[in-house]
Symmetry: C2
Subunit: 337 residues, 2 copies
Amino acid sequence: MTIKDIAKACGVSVSTVSRVLNNHPDVSRSVREKVSSTVERLGYIPNNSARDLVRTRSDNIGVVVRGQDNLFFSAMVKTISREIESRGYTMVLHFIGSDDDEVMAGAILEREKKLRGLIFLGGRFDYSAETLAPVGVPFVCCTYTNCFGTLDEKDYSSVSIDDYMTAYRAVRTLIDLGHKRIAVVAPATDDRSISELRYKGYRAALEDGGLDFDPELLVETEGFFEMPKAYEGTVKLAERGTEFTAVFALSDTTALAAVKALEDHGRRVPEDCSVIAIDGLTVSEYANPTLTTMVQPVEEMGRQSVAILADMIEQRQQCCHLRLETKLRSGGSVKKI
Amino acid sequence: MTIKDIAKACGVSVSTVSRVLNNHPDVSRSVREKVSSTVERLGYIPNNSARDLVRTRSDNIGVVVRGQDNLFFSAMVKTISREIESRGYTMVLHFIGSDDDEVMAGAILEREKKLRGLIFLGGRFDYSAETLAPVGVPFVCCTYTNCFGTLDEKDYSSVSIDDYMTAYRAVRTLIDLGHKRIAVVAPATDDRSISELRYKGYRAALEDGGLDFDPELLVETEGFFEMPKAYEGTVKLAERGTEFTAVFALSDTTALAAVKALEDHGRRVPEDCSVIAIDGLTVSEYANPTLTTMVQPVEEMGRQSVAILADMIEQRQQCCHLRLETKLRSGGSVKKI
């Protein structure tokens, strides 16, 4: 019995069933009642202990990866794969789109593949116990935590950097080099996710540096760090006519797209505009100019996520929360003014 | 019973057992006899039909990915994953290093994960029936074929581009723009693999263009398209003092590293040197300058590989060999001289 069966029996989409199970507001009363009664009638139990009774043992660990063309996650998947295999488990990899619900995707995967545990690569920061109820196995939030949510810290693990502070330090680096008009290219500013935290770090650095925030310096690109959107957003910024001497991009790939957009609009990097980011990809090290960026410890994040999950599955350890350090990689995309 | 058990029982490494099973010459007679007798004693049967009798049915499809930081394969894994899942199978992803034996990795994975089929992302082009004997399930060579080997075309499937012709067309593009001194940055020239084919395409284009080959224009980087190696190789080329006006790099990422090395040595691209490659990655579209490259149909290659494999597993179709078209993406890294 999977969520797909429920959807089929009700004649609605899987995402509608997921919305009902998660008590999302945007479902009509009639659909909600139909789904709920079907769930009851067919005996679909999104409840942990009951499910375990009928579970066939597997060695599968699910890895749910958010976003298209996310090179940071691609790099991490290799480490995670190696660590999962070396511990005798099998990795079941699942990609979801920028706007998909990772929890529901993980819960479905858990049922279909009889998972022992889950690693989420990318997700929202505002889980509640109710939202996570469909996930009946130990899980690790990798690259994010639950700082906006109400989920008990004892009910999940996380491995992340301090997004707020890392963004703060990146922007502080620009301010220390004399920049006062610093633009920001961000997917969103209030999505209860990684973008919001990094955007807030930017705002805090401006404030502490005695700089006023100018809404004209903000570009919201939507999506999840896709290069085309970051390129378009930066073009808009460049065409807006607002003065700026530096750009803070929330990720390496969006920074590369921003550099491209700036150069295409006659602004050389770093001569006319500095660019700084967060990630530390190999490809941005060989970009022209080499990107100045806050490097995330991608190997260690992957390694620790699997180690913690294995400890949870094998009941050697309770949930735990690791926050890893980032480090400035000085490239050629930033200059003193 | 896995190859690991055999290795353990004999007190040798897994790769030694694999060499024995594959009749590689570099194993001593005593080790060979010890492994062979253990294989017999423990009843390890690397034989297809016998193994099927004891096989527990699974829905696993193995995907063996060669190379570190290979962004082309990262892009393809997403498509392959989606296609495998949509057909009701589970993807078991396995990364191997540049120099690892993909066949043995696949054979081990097949046993450990009870695979129904295998997709190799990257491999050698010189298989024989003996080399492939340990693989007891249908498989698809994705991104390569077996043009140097003796394996019967009816025993495997492949989805690839015409590497020789694609390289030929890339170099021909440079020649048509007036370039006569065209350097090549290649992992190898005689490895019976993708590099050899593309290198031969380069040589043929030179010959047809009436240009002599100069060994000084060749840089062998070793490895498998790693950026640091391509960077170092191009630095050597630049410091060699040999005159050249263009570089053909065998992949997008090595081309990006080559552009970086050229710029770091005072040669602007394309003003002082043109650069062309093969792949068509998103990240090279946003490089500075945009890379001119032969685009591989990455989505279709992934989709077709899974479709063909599923047909083989479900016995709807015999082996087949697809050769897909590439297309020139004109960027800003090439100019007429």
